[in-house]
Symmetry: C2
Subunit: 268 residues, 2 copies
Amino acid sequence: MGKISKETVARPLILVTNDDGISAHGIRFLVDVMQELGAIVVVAPNSPQSGMGHAITIGNTLRLDETDIFGSKVRAFECSGTPVDCVKLAKCIVLEGKKPDLVVSGVNHGSNSSISVLYSGTMSAAIEAAIEGIPSIGFSLCDYSPNADFSHAKEHIKQLAFQVLKSGLPAGVTLNVNIPAKSKTKIRGIKICRQAKAKWQELFEERKDPHGRRYFWMKGSFINQDKVEDTDEWALQNNYIAVVPVMFDLTAYYAIPTISAEWEMKLS
Amino acid sequence: MGKISKETVARPLILVTNDDGISAHGIRFLVDVMQELGAIVVVAPNSPQSGMGHAITIGNTLRLDETDIFGSKVRAFECSGTPVDCVKLAKCIVLEGKKPDLVVSGVNHGSNSSISVLYSGTMSAAIEAAIEGIPSIGFSLCDYSPNADFSHAKEHIKQLAFQVLKSGLPAGVTLNVNIPAKSKTKIRGIKICRQAKAKWQELFEERKDPHGRRYFWMKGSFINQDKVEDTDEWALQNNYIAVVPVMFDLTAYYAIPTISAEWEMKLS
């Protein structure tokens, strides 16, 4: 398979985005780290977009406004749309069609491991970059607090981004990087993993509005059905950084022969 | 791999949803067809949710209101959320935890073939059902018109849904079914395909609001980079119904050995 190789990168151009919104601590941290590796452009949502998955804005208008939120030296834009909108607007409008050398998304406040990759705006921004053939990484910290401490992740994030800038990634692949929350124990290293078989068990809390009409809040608990050692969940529980190579070709190739054999004759 | 088998289905329970909204012609058509196969429950968005991908509503409240839009004999609910929210609310609240025998989503007004599977709320509803272990199908007609003619698709849709009710689907798999728009030529049959390598080339149209501030509309044209005969795009162009088995495990397994070999040593 092809490689998006960046063997010699002088001063790479790095696009930074996220889903928690441009004012989140996680993106500020990521901007600081990426400035040590290249020239930065930020295009991020102007409001929280957690759980937006691969949503795009097609039935509504989009705003894109320059901001000095990261100081006068960082070119930054806030966007009214989703994380995927941000990547598209960055490419087409801000960079006028020029491809950045790397897209990084995050650092998300909260895990995006396992099945959460599907719901995550952070990861969808990284996937959108991969669709465009741009090497990309989504970073998430397993700590949902708005004031989470990202400091222990700094060198690892820098190393991973440097590695992707240097060696590229297989075509059609992005990385889902989840980092254990800060604790007294040092991170044990990095594991390349598969997505654990897990799901969210949602529970809806029913309430009544002041007019007596019901409404719901979605809550959920994460159910890990997969305790095997090659999963992202195992890695995180054992204090490793979990790196899952993620693809956007959703074809279940293994199912094609069975379904073809059973169905095509009957249905043609 | 396991089978979600439904060998003997007396009067199956079928959940119907979509992303164009509960008042779209496509879902009305699907409700009519599914009534010939089983008992129906509808939970669908109360507004258009095209392009919402796998978004869920976590930072806001959700409404779920019963409606007689399909007549007094069809139990139906409209929801303020996304297609994935609809599946979750259907399972937890409307069906009180009981799993339907089949979830069908659509019929979408417009193609969801190839890379569009990622952006499609129609398909995300079907994927969400698959995560829950419920056999599911997303149906889309390659005609964006709100007044599209679905009639030529009826027997095919019925046959596909019947086949899934009868034989189940491999675990972790849903079907992305795209149907050629009605034309003078009869549909040639059904092809089990892979997702074509294609993408949307977006183009943003910049406008000024009445206050002189700029905003954008997203437009796009579909670029098919993959002309091979085993793809959904080829099938559709040759007047076949394209059926892609779709999975929610996004792990790029083929990339794990390469990345592990190159990275783990250096990064641990």
